[in-house]
Symmetry: C4
Subunit: 340 residues, 4 copies
């Protein structure tokens, strides 16, 4: 089967996955208002393409935290890849390297962070939730020693959002490879801004906060010396009713004023979505569910195919928008809302 776009992977993944696992991946929290808004918000942003520009070669290379990548599209941290494919996160990491992208490995992985690092052929970042200090120190140490290049601290999840379809399915999360059973049961530490200094004391790796949606928190993050921010609503899976991440981006851009790198996830399904996020100020985007669809359909090859689809779409979108380089993409490329 040919895959014309990433939605083809979605359809096929749904057909081949166990329903409970599918629901777990697919669900937004509660009524799914934010989950859907992540997509519709992109449709309300119009592109303003420029013409008669030399676009024979569209250069998508960039860096994130100093790491060279072939395109401004990273793999977002998502949990439990073994639900999609027996090789789990190892397959995903393999594909990421092949695509010269960065994979952000979730601490809630079904393969240990060391196994993932062993299989990876490219740069990795490590996502963590702060649980106990002891466990966090261990994870930071292990990730550093396994060669992860940055820490992504998820800050939108002091509790878990309610995925109601997954609850109805009676879905139970699998075992987390990085945790013992006792450790996995210890969730519930509520992280505060003070903890950032402590985390900084543990590591020299770049620290990136994931899950910021307001100018206020973006300003605080910069004050606390973070190296990057991922504007994110956790794919609509935490607090239902928050802004689509693309609509939260402009206020974060303004508050940060270039003092750290900004990324965005949430609803990226098309090359033009990436283009819009870049135009509004993101340095790169992260893709979550589509990676899992590719993984479910075709393992590492499927993940690679999804990344290549998005890369090709972004490259074509840049060409048709008259942008041969990422540096020429700015706010003038978009117009927000309907009407004249």
């Amino acid at each position: 089967m040919e895959h014309v776009n990433v939605f083809d992977f979605e359809i096929q993944a749904r057909a081949c996955m166990e329903p409970g696992a599918w629901n777990y991946y697919h669900d937004g929290a509660n009524d799914g208002v934010t989950y859907r808004a992540n997509r519709t918000a992109f449709e309300r942003i119009q592109l303003r393409p420029r013409v008669l520009v030399d676009v024979r070669h569209c250069d998508m290379e960039t860096t994130v935290q100093g790491i060279s990548i072939n395109m401004p599209i990273l793999i977002a941290p998502t949990a439990f890849h073994c639900l999609a494919h027996p090789e789990g996160e190892c397959a995903t990491a393999h594909a990421a390297g092949r695509a010269t992208s960065v994979m952000v490995a979730s601490s809630s992985s079904t393969r240990s962070l060391e196994e993932i690092a062993r299989e990876a052929s490219g740069p990795l970042w490590f996502q963590l939730y702060v649980s106990t200090r002891k466990k966090t120190e261990e994870l930071v140490r292990r990730a550093t020693s396994a060669g992860y290049l940055a820490l992504v601290l998820t800050v939108d999840s002091p509790r878990w959002g309610r995925k109601e379809q997954a609850i109805r399915s009676g879905f139970h999360t699998p075992i987390k490879a990085n945790f013992t059973d006792d450790e996995a049961a210890e969730e519930g530490v509520s992280l505060t801004w003070e903890a950032l200094a402590w985390l900084r004391s543990l590591t020299t790796l770049p620290i990136i906060l994931k899950g910021i949606l307001t100018a206020e928190d973006a300003a605080l993050a910069v004050q606390h010396g973070v190296n990057g921010i991922i504007v994110s609503n956790h794919g609509g899976r935490q607090l239902d009713g928050v802004s689509p991440s693309i609509e939260a981006l402009p206020q974060v851009v303004e508050a940060v004023g270039g003092r750290c790198e900004l990324y965005l996830d949430g609803g990226i399904r098309r090359g033009t979505d990436v283009l819009k996020a870049l135009a509004l100020g993101a340095r790169a985007v992260l893709v979550g569910r589509p990676i899992l669809w590719g993984l479910a359909v075709n393992g590492a090859d499927g993940v690679y195919q999804v990344l290549e689809l998005l890369r090709a779409e972004l490259e074509l979108a840049m060409a048709l928008a008259g942008k041969a380089r990422l540096s020429s993409i700015d706010r003038s490329l978009v117009r927000v809302g309907e009407g004249m």
Copy 2:
């Protein structure tokens, strides 16, 4: 059957109730424009969650008219609970006390206000429409002597709105336990602002007006010395085409300027709805139809389950929004409308 959210109770209640009674509870007036708008208006309000706040314990305790309650969610006055369950308002009152909330008993109850008070295990308020002076005096006296702690005067119902599905069902309202047949037939007194001084002369209980939707009337209410206002469109059951109550709230907040307590009902179905109402200035909300769904499905236990669902949702929403106390919830938590 597990109830994942209050809509599960709605579905089950519809299945187990007599159609005419269901229609009576469910109907909005006429075309249901306001009934539907009560819900869609909440969806247009976006939450702006804060992160890295200590939310291990989210405190939802507050007071209404000086009464301590465990959460800012009260039971709205609704008529004829015996249509949902043989124990009627007595079951509802029982559940309210168990949840440490306040029940506002309707004067159009199918159990007498004294019976309800006898069964209640927590604080009660009494809702009344002003009919004749004689009857009103009697009801105020009876409510006071039965231990009700506040009077809620409904001001949006000089006539009854047309519930057209109920009319088509041939539905007839049951007997009102607080009225003789002759008294029940006497409806149609048109209350004016002057009557408030008279009502005040009858009682020392707090007087709360229910059904205000404009800044103008809110200002008049304060001038007439009321102790509270419930911003309400009667669940969309009176004048079709009026504002959703959540959209009317800001103008009332501004007009009142803190001079009395403000509450809101209309369309509350999720913890995030409560959070949005509080952010826009309500001290507490009242829930109507979901209580009846719980009552129909499972009597007092069903009412309690509905209240606990909402309490748990609000608690989770506060945690995910970074608000550990009600006092930290303010206007900056919401953004109104689409776009950037």
Copy 3:
């Protein structure tokens, strides 16, 4: 069968009428954009009800061109009533008088204007399109002598809009009782502002222009000394894509500045629609299709029932909005658009 609202008449009329005739009545022009917008525009206008007002008696009496009527709802001119009922316009006129309203008889009637006047039990106005000068003079003379009290000149129809469903039905318009065959074939005179002076010279009756949608034309109408303006898009049957009439009303109100009476038709189906039109500056509204539905379903009685339904709905809407008199209805009663 009980009719709970005017839509019940619509459903029943559709079932009992010949499809081609139904389509002719029902159709908007072309894609029906304006036809539908006439309704949706009303739904976007929110009512701001006032409370604690004495509304025991809501007085809907008013005058139009000095004629006393029981409610601000007139019968709009519509063509070919014999398609709905054998008694045609005579039945309609009978019902209008019974309801103490005014019927505007169409010049494209299937009963002659004299017959209609003979059957009428209340005041009549006469609608005309200007065809040849000779014929117009004749119609004006006949209408005056038959006792019609005002002339309504339709100005939005220099040609006929395309009713595409009616065209597909192969519908042919019936014979016009006020015209000979030769006269009926003579359509196509293009009326200009200059013709108003000529028309004025023919009659002392009030002259009302029907079909104005802009401030510019409203100002011209006043300059040319008209006695009234009907803001109208011909029920969406002429130029598809024009403003819903209720949205055109405010600019006309402002341009006219009280110098002549203003009426509105287009999409009135509910008492609350009437209330909104009055709040935005109309002195009265005209109802078209619902009258034909009533006529089709039940002849003169059906027309009367439709008028009584609307009267009762308006009366209830006034009571629930806190307006006991038409004179207390003003712009503060409505809020336009969504959001806060």
Copy 4:
């Protein structure tokens, strides 16, 4: 079968065409967001009709690049007419002349530009993509010598947009009559503004740029001395997510300030669409897909019928809008967006 509007041709064409070819004609790029927006944008523009104007004769004659035409509706360049009808572009050209319109022949035609010119009974323009300099010079020379009166340079297609339904159909584009196989394979030259001077040096024909959507590019076009601009998003077939062309028109009008002629294509299906485009500043519009529908259904006669339908609709729309001449159509005829 009678064709009441152009959508009747669409339905019939879909039924009679090979599915792959239909998909190729019909598809918008990717998700079709822009394809659909081209239509919905027209529906959001309201007409403000004027009354009591002499519209017995509505004059639609105008000129484009000095060529007299009977109506401001041209035939847009579209590829591969032989997919619709064996006579292909020759039939289209024949109909264009019969309707006294201008056909813009696509360089991707299935009949050679010389054949088309031989069959044409009216003025032709020639559309080209710039491929190699050598081929471009040849095409310009051939078009000039075959009598084409203007060159339309498409600037929005440095690459081809993805028509996903056509891809799924396994559709392959037919042979281009103006190209050898080798030449057809040579696509991919990326044209820049500098090339305009070179193109100008090749010809004295008017040069028109097709595919501009921004004020910035419109200003550049004028600076480079073009004779006309077609505001276009290629029927939603290139970059998905760009503005509907009618929404991009005002900024182009303002940037150009009358320094060259402006045309528009994209979503024109009704006479009122033409009227709206003229009101917003277009001198004429171009119609694409409806021409192909007419061609598929009925060859040259079908194309002529489509043009006549649009002509009749525009003429009626002008009459009902109170505009007897194109020169009286201006911005005051439209109101953009909903609300009051």
